[in-house]
Subunit: 139 residues, 3 copies
């Protein structure tokens, strides 16, 4: 039984930037030497989230629109009134999407569908440098 810990660093444009990180996670899974088990990806920070999507420009647009309906950028947020950050919507979107995603591994590969990619969604209202924690458990 192995535990492998690593990380992914990347820069985002913010404003619900949706970035396909599947290839980078795959590479770390290969590096881990784990064949069967699970990989967890976690975004440190409170204004971004992780999920899966068919990564094509139509759905990237549609997911941004959906998040705008759920927590509008121009809504009234007590966070902004109190702190003046202007990113209350980003925090709320992040809490709703969640920061953590676990994917099973078999034969050294993530069991994703062909049209199912892992994405980091950066909701913050400015460019950010982000670090994702990648943890592999298995044998």
């Amino acid at each position: 039984m192995l535990v492998y810990r690593s990380s992914i660093s990347l820069s985002t444009a913010g404003e619900t930037d949706i970035i396909d990180i599947t290839g980078r996670v795959e590479k770390l899974v290969a590096d881990s030497g784990v064949s069967r088990g699970m990989v967890n990806v976690f975004i440190t920070g409170s204004t971004a989230g992780l999920t899966t999507i068919e990564y094509e420009s139509g759905l990237v647009h549609d997911l941004k629109e959906a998040m705008e309906r759920i927590a509008p950028r121009k809504g009234n947020y007590a966070h902004d009134t109190r702190w003046g950050d202007g990113n209350g919507y980003a925090h709320i979107r992040s809490s709703l999407m969640g920061p953590s995603l676990s994917v099973p591994l078999d034969g050294g590969r993530m069991m994703l569908g062909t049209w199912q990619q892992i994405v980091l969604v950066d909701f913050d209202n400015r460019r950010r440098d982000r670090t994702l924690a990648v943890t592999v458990l298995g044998e």
Copy 2:
């Protein structure tokens, strides 16, 4: 420390079909021989999701209504304009709900509440044959 990998195959009716899979996951947990640890259930594909709910017909109806409010079937989706699939809403619902669920195990049992069942929600706009990956880690 054990790693057990298995899968569940089932057919769904699509259109936000909500299926209680608790019994099938329980059976695989028993097969795994793991007493203490965690089971992860993962839906391969980008138009379905996993969560827990009190599985009774009222809430099954209410969850469908909630998803219709969040990502309406007849909304405008760039995915549909581009690809003509007509299931843009299903992709967005799936990304919002998420494809992965982890449940702790103790004494060989999932630590679910009495009125807390694991459900697969198939958002796609047609019948589907689905495969769920079930992964048990523990001792």
Copy 3:
């Protein structure tokens, strides 16, 4: 490789009470003796959820407002018509947020951001005594 299982008991006020449990999870992670791996927190029950947030009073207010927009307290729920519980909204909010959260560990610490706390959100329409299952896997 270790498996550590424990639990957290706490009382909530209900009505989307948002409680910072980071310190209590940290203590159990320290007790586990696990340095590298993962901790999973799981809420047993179908009217509460888990996520991360910057725990400050502005965002605590904003998250409550967001959940009220997504699944209004005074909405029409078949669950309430059928069972008279009056907490249909709480069940739906719980299914949308999800009951499970996994956080990576390194150097015996959770890899959370400085402004990223783990919260239990109790959506039920009354005070509740809650038990959270905490499971640590790693070495």
